[in-house]
């Protein structure tokens, strides 16, 4: 097993609003190995993006605050908890050791600076290159992400690129300092499928070539199945299931994961057959349900579900936050002893 470059333990991020405390991320733990691809999947409001912005320490404060937990980054030399760093130390990590790309490349690129300016800035800042060296490296980076006529494009502005090309520029900027971890927050959601295929292909290629670990945050189960080795499924601020992608998709354990997979229409399946949706709506995170958070929408709920289930192993290598896992070969919960949810609410 490869060394963990990033380890998140019992992360809790809350937003203090006039209406009350929003428990956006509530006790999330996960790890990413060197060169690994981890998917974080869930619907809007499940806390997947807040988890990512917490790792980058980009939570707007106020109203947001990381109230508990640790985020350990191991770059091979030393292991630091980035929640203990001050702002200037954090600036050294952000964009350098951990980089992030966002859903909409138009809003994350500066419209009044050329692509060249934006590419060379981190190189000069983090790697201490001169302007000329940085430009040479910027051209190399643009070529690597598949932008034609890279030398000329250095002087172009973001609006002169198409959506797919802009996302390539974002990836070039993100990878410019050879980060250990690349967090991609819905990087292809704003793109058309044929362009999405190009970008996913590029990301997989860069992952293999440079060993950059990727955390892929998405709502699209297809994207996860395509590029991720391991998956975390999030619901209402918690990880409800985690495991290897092939196990989780072939044998989902948590009723929410089962429901998600049944909700997606698939190409080549029986056309005109009704889908099986999950009834109801996701909970309000100002007042999450007591016990299992999926309980109000779950068709397998029982009295026991009013107690919070821990995230525990239900099948080899597969963990679910559920008292009555639905997958094949799942072990009855009474018999399972491995509770990895550190500090789970008791």
């Amino acid at each position: 097993m490869a060394r963990n470059v990033l380890e998140v333990n019992n992360l809790k991020t809350q937003f203090f609003t006039r209406a009350g405390i929003v428990y956006a991320v509530d006790g999330v733990s996960f790890h990413v190995g060197e060169g690994e691809t981890l998917g974080i999947v869930g619907e809007s409001g499940c806390g997947k993006s807040v988890t990512a912005t917490s790792v980058m320490r980009l939570i707007p404060s106020p109203p947001g605050r990381i109230v508990e937990g640790e985020i350990l980054l191991d770059d091979g030399n030393e292991k630091v908890d980035i929640l203990t760093l001050d702002d200037s130390e954090m600036r050294h990590i952000r964009g350098n050791k951990i980089a992030m790309i966002f859903q909409d490349p138009m809003t994350s690129l500066n419209p009044v600076l050329t692509v060249g300016d934006q590419l060379t800035e981190p190189l000069m800042l983090h790697l201490g290159l001169s302007k000329r060296e940085a430009e040479a490296r910027a051209v190399e980076l643009l070529k690597r992400v598949g932008i034609p006529a890279a030398e000329d494009r250095l002087r172009a502005y973001p609006h002169q690129f198409s959506g797919g090309m802009r996302q390539r520029v974002m990836i070039a900027i993100a990878l410019s300092c050879n980060p250990k971890v690349l967090i991609a927050d819905e990087p292809t959601t704003a793109l058309d499928v044929t362009i999405q295929a190009q970008i996913l292909d590029l990301m997989m290629h860069l992952n293999r070539e440079f060993g950059t670990a990727i955390i892929m945050i998405t709502h699209d189960l297809g994207v996860v199945a395509e590029i991720c080795e391991r998956v975390n499924v999030m619901y209402a601020g918690q990880v409800v299931e985690t495991g290897m992608a092939k196990d989780l998709f072939n044998n989902p354990q948590h009723p929410y994961t089962v429901g998600l997979l049944n909700s997606v229409p698939r190409i080549g399946e029986n056309v005109k057959e009704a889908l099986t949706p999950i009834p109801g709506l996701p909970p309000d995170l100002l007042a999450p349900p007591i016990g299992c958070r999926f309980r109000p929408r779950c068709r397998y709920r029982q009295e026991k579900c009013e107690e919070s289930p821990p995230l525990a192993e239900v099948a080899p290598g597969q963990l679910a936050r559920c008292w009555f896992p639905q997958g094949r070969g799942s072990t009855p919960r009474e018999a399972s002893t491995t509770d990895v949810a550190t500090g789970a609410t008791t």
Binding site: T194, P265, K272, P282
Partner: protein, 341 residues
């Protein structure tokens, strides 16, 4: 398997050779937008050919899916059919009447049978109107029934789309995205239309909610004998709900066929690439992916000949010169490509 396929083709009432009952016929439809040039100059700087010579028909009672990537003209086509835009050229025949050049008064009578559901339910519902007044607006405009009857009809419509009838006095912001889309659906079926144009009705919704709305649309179709023109960019969703599918690229229809034929045996190289690009929710099962080079060209200056030729993996020299027309490659399966087999 083969016999099954045969059976369906025999029992399909609107088969290629059988009598066809088309609720909508679109012939040679064009919609150009002129941009720039100032309002006094005769020549505009740019002409965007959003929809360029599109012909197809929608059969009564079916769901016809329209799929394509952003900028392919699918939304403009939908909005031109319902006459939110005036067509530049071509014919739109709805229920036997050509509505393409009709004046506003006459159009209103025909448009009653044709309604639309929009993509973004928060933008298409007036935030200052209650749900009750939103849904009863079409009823008021057409003077349907008495005030009491209209009020009762609104309650009934809310129940039909799966909302509580005591929501009538609430405002759109009090609802979730999925519920707002249900309100939009209730408004669209208020006048008992025959044809509903659904423009990306589920793409703003989360997957678990998306499935709820798709199932509702299907149930309403059965209960109310609706015909759908279902426009979306997600081929998996379109193929799931549609009987037949039309694929658009850069203002042109490039392939039309039964949903199953399109997804299982796509003929046009663009459709093939589009299908191969969809990530499957099955790990390890990667299709042989056809990755298209480059981006979609601008509809202001489309490529000559076949519009797909600069990105096409099987393009030959004459593809740049001769524009391919839709031809019937198999029964009820049309493709606009010189070399498709």
């Amino acid at each position: 398997m083969a016999t099954q396929a045969k059976d369906t083709s025999v029992t399909t009432p609107n088969g290629a050779n059988g009598p066809t009952d088309n609720i909508l016929e679109v012939t040679g439809l064009k919609k150009y937008f002129h941009i720039g040039g100032g309002f006094l100059s005769k020549n505009s700087a740019l002409t965007i050919r959003a929809v360029d010579d599109v012909s197809f028909a929608v059969r009564r009672g079916e769901t016809f899916g329209l799929v394509g990537e952003s900028g392919c003209g699918k939304t403009t086509l939908g909005q031109t059919i319902i006459r939110l835009y005036n067509p530049t050229e071509g014919k739109i025949v709805f229920n036997g009447a050509d509505i393409s050049q009709m004046g506003a008064n006459e159009l209103r009578k025909h448009r009653r049978g044709m309604q639309m559901i929009f993509q973004d339910p928060s933008a298409s519902l007036d935030p200052r109107m209650t749900v009750g007044s939103i849904i009863s607006e079409p009823l008021n405009i057409f003077g349907v029934g008495s005030k009491e009857e209209r009020r009762e009809r609104v309650r009934e419509l809310l129940r039909v789309v799966g909302l509580n009838s005591y929501f009538v006095n609430r405002y759109p912001h009090e609802f979730s995205g999925g519920q707002r889309q249900r309100i939009g659906i209730a408004r669209s079926i208020a006048l008992n239309p025959e044809l509903v144009i659904c423009d990306e009705p589920v793409s703003a919704l989360d997957v678990s909610i998306q499935a709820q709305v798709l199932n509702l649309l299907r149930k309403l179709q059965d209960d109310l004998n609706l015909t759908y023109l279902f426009i979306a960019h997600n081929l998996a969703v379109v193929a799931h709900i549609s009987d037949r599918v039309g694929v658009m690229y850069l203002g042109k229809m490039v392939e039309i066929g039964e949903s199953r034929a399109i997804t299982e045996h796509p003929k046009h190289p663009y459709t093939q690439a589009l299908i191969s690009a969809i990530p499957l929710p099955i790990p390890g099962k990667r299709r042989d992916r056809i990755i298209l080079e480059g981006d979609v060209p601008s509809p202001a200056n489309p490529p000559t000949g076949c519009r797909f030729h600069p990105r096409c993996p099987i393009a030959r020299a004459d593809c740049a010169e001769v524009e391919p027309l839709l031809r019937e490659i198999e029964p009820d399966h049309w493709v606009a490509c010189h070399y498709a087999q």
